[in-house]
């Protein structure tokens, strides 16, 4: 297991963010004056019970959800001031996504799925395929680049999703419940791999999870409850990340 990478600079700066859903009596205050920072070289985990606002905050940081008030600054760009088109281009270039349900396109091969972010950026399909195969080698699926995602196990599909999130070398990787659809064994494999390949001195990684089995993989843990960050805790730099089988929820 590699040592934790020393954190360098703040690349995600969330200040006093508010977000509501619904109108009138049905209005739900989802994010309440949230402050959070993410730094390069670290894995930041957003944890907390279901419905506490983790995914909403992640969506806002990813620029896929408009906030009511506050500021979100990502790599010096104030997201709420960007136009829709600029935000879309910003996401394409700077953010790698890993979804809970993988969201691999079933009609594409593994390599074609991995190459999608490059195609979005306008890279030719030939170059995208070459780069996809390289990164698939890194996640241990180099031999299976031609197969359809449905031929792979859940763990392997999540590894493909990791490869897809990293193929265009984004400085920010966002993961939503990466182990929720995996059993303990696959969850461990994926997290070990993720720590190896996603963690980099130039990259910030934010993981949303309520799976306390994987908390040891974090460099910092931000705990949310009822729309607020209630605690931000640094992990011991010398700890050995491992999958907490015995505490599985």
């Amino acid at each position: 297991m590699p040592d934790p990478v020393p954190s360098s600079r703040i690349v995600v700066d969330v200040r006093a963010v508010e977000k509501n859903f619904g109108e009138g009596a049905n209005r739900i205050h989802v994010l309440k004056q949230v402050h959070l920072q993410a730094r390069t070289g670290e894995i930041l985990m957003l944890v907390g019970p279901s419905g506490c606002g983790k995914t909403t905050l992640l969506s806002a940081i990813a620029g896929t959800l408009k906030i009511e008030s506050g500021e979100i600054n990502v790599f010096g760009n104030q997201l709420e001031k960007m136009s829709g088109g600029a935000l879309t281009r910003f996401r394409a270039k700077n953010i790698g996504f890993i979804f809970q349900q993988f969201n691999l396109i079933p009609t594409l091969t593994v390599a074609e799925n991995v190459g999608v972010p490059l195609l979005i950026q306008g890279v030719s399909s030939g170059k995208a395929l070459k780069r996809s195969r390289e990164i698939l080698e890194r996640v241990g699926l180099g031999e299976r680049w031609k197969e359809r995602p449905n031929k792979l196990s859940g763990g392997q599909q999540q590894r493909v999703a990791i490869a897809r999130a990293l193929v265009h070398e984004p400085p920010l990787v966002i993961c939503d419940e990466p182990t929720a659809a995996l059993d303990a064994q696959n969850g461990e494999i994926v997290l070990d791999l993720f720590r190896q390949v996603a963690r980099s001195p130039d990259r910030a990684v934010i993981i949303v999870t309520h799976d306390n089995r994987i908390f040891t993989y974090a460099d910092r843990i931000a705990r949310m409850d009822d729309g607020e960050i209630v605690e931000v805790r640094e992990q011991d730099q010398n700890h050995t990340p491992h999958f907490e089988h015995e505490h599985a929820l």
């Binding site: 969506s59 396109i105 939503d176």
Partner: protein, 389 residues
């Protein structure tokens, strides 16, 4: 992105085939029915094609070629006296009955032409000699008549041939020629004889002249000559070109008469509209279901930074692709139908280039409607939704 769009489309085999099938049926219904309609309308002008005279002069109230308001025989001389006319010949055209050997009757379209000039004679004889029409009780029949008037139409050896005889209204007719001709609107075969003999074959009336066919003098167009004939004689003079070519054209006048005065366009038009509705219903419903099925993948693409514009282009490209394939297969099936129809001589089938072009546009409009529904659904889909499993 086009490759990605196509792989997503072709990968969902069930929906792809459903889409293609819907558009195939829509194309087939629209093109086939429109072509049969055009073929039927073309049949209404068969006499004008089979009697290839440049000008038809008819009674002043006649609007279409199958309507024969008889004129006086002296009208031929009257028209010949017009300075714009190079020649003018009498023409008899009427539906008569032939009695076959077994006692049954068949309807025929009898054409009587001038015996001296043979003006209005069939264009292409495949057997016999036109001059033999000058012999007593002789007729020239078209190829359809060789089967229709045969005692056993299914037996090729019993087809009517040169020298065979039958009766038209109890008057003997001997076949001296067989020609190619377009089938008539009534479905009966064409039989040519001389004008005088045609009058003998037909029940007597006070006036028997159906039309006078004419040609303009040199240096004058058909239209100019027709205008002069009308002005001078008070009769109606039509030119014989093709549908839509000229306001004074007898083909155009005939077809419009059938469009306005019969239920044929409504019948065929209804089927064409049904084809459109089938296309819209199947294509839109299936394509929308395809978009819904792929919504989370399309949403993921949106979250990963693909713009609404590019996603819309993908959907439009997918819709247009299935449209093109469905249209191609539909046109292919229509061609198969057309080959059978042309081989058998029926049902009527005529496909001017405007029909496939119009059908292609209709199919692509259907696809654009389907794509638009998908685009609207996708544009309402917030990329953040993709995080909510």
């Amino acid at each position: 992105m086009i490759g990605l769009a196509l792989k997503m489309l072709f990968g969902d085999t069930a929906k792809y085939l459903m889409l293609v099938a819907g558009l195939f049926f829509a194309t087939f219904l629209i093109v086939q029915q429109a072509s049969v309609f055009c073929g039927l309308m073309r049949w209404t002008t068969a006499t004008l094609k089979n009697v290839a005279a440049p000008i038809f002069v008819v009674e002043e109230r006649v609007e279409q070629v199958n309507e024969t308001n008889p004129m006086r025989d002296t009208d031929v001389a009257l028209i010949r006296s017009v300075s714009a006319v190079r020649w003018a010949m009498p023409l008899y055209s009427g539906i008569q009955r032939v009695r076959l050997d077994d006692g049954s009757f068949k309807t025929i379209q009898l054409i009587g032409i001038d015996a001296a000039s043979f003006a209005g004679a069939p264009g292409k004889l495949v057997a016999g000699h036109l001059e033999d029409l000058r012999l007593p009780n002789t007729v020239v029949i078209d190829e359809l008549a060789t089967e229709r008037l045969s005692p056993d139409p299914k037996d090729p050896s019993k087809k009517i041939k040169i020298g065979d005889r039958f009766e038209i209204n109890d008057v003997e007719a001997r076949v001296v020629g067989i020609c190619k001709a377009m089938r008539s609107f009534t479905g009966g075969p064409y039989i040519w004889t001389t004008y005088e003999r045609a009058l003998q074959y037909s029940p007597p009336q006070r006036k028997m002249l159906s039309a006078v066919i004419a040609a303009p003098i040199q240096g004058m167009t058909n239209e100019e000559a027709a205008a002069v004939i009308e002005r001078t004689t008070g009769l109606r003079a039509y030119v014989n070109r093709d549908f839509g070519k000229n306001g004074r054209d007898f083909n155009t006048s005939t077809i419009w008469w059938y469009v306005k005065n019969t239920g044929i366009p409504i019948s065929f038009g209804t089927t064409v509209v049904i084809g459109f509705i089938v296309g819209v219903a199947i294509a839109c419903q299936t394509f929308y279901a395809f978009v819904l099925d792929n919504l989370k993948h399309l949403g993921a693409l949106k979250a990963m930074g693909m713009s609404n514009f590019r996603l819309s282009v993908m959907l439009i490209f997918q819709a247009l692709t299935v449209g093109l394939i469905g249209f191609g297969l539909g046109l292919l099936a229509t061609s198969g139908f057309a080959m059978g129809a042309l081989k058998n001589g029926q049902p009527p089938f005529f496909m001017p280039w405007q029909i496939p072009v119009a059908a292609f546009c209709v199919i692509q409009i259907i696809c654009m409607i389907a794509a638009l529904m998908g685009i609207v659904r996708l544009s309402l889909y917030e990329p953040a939704m993709v995080f909510r499993a």
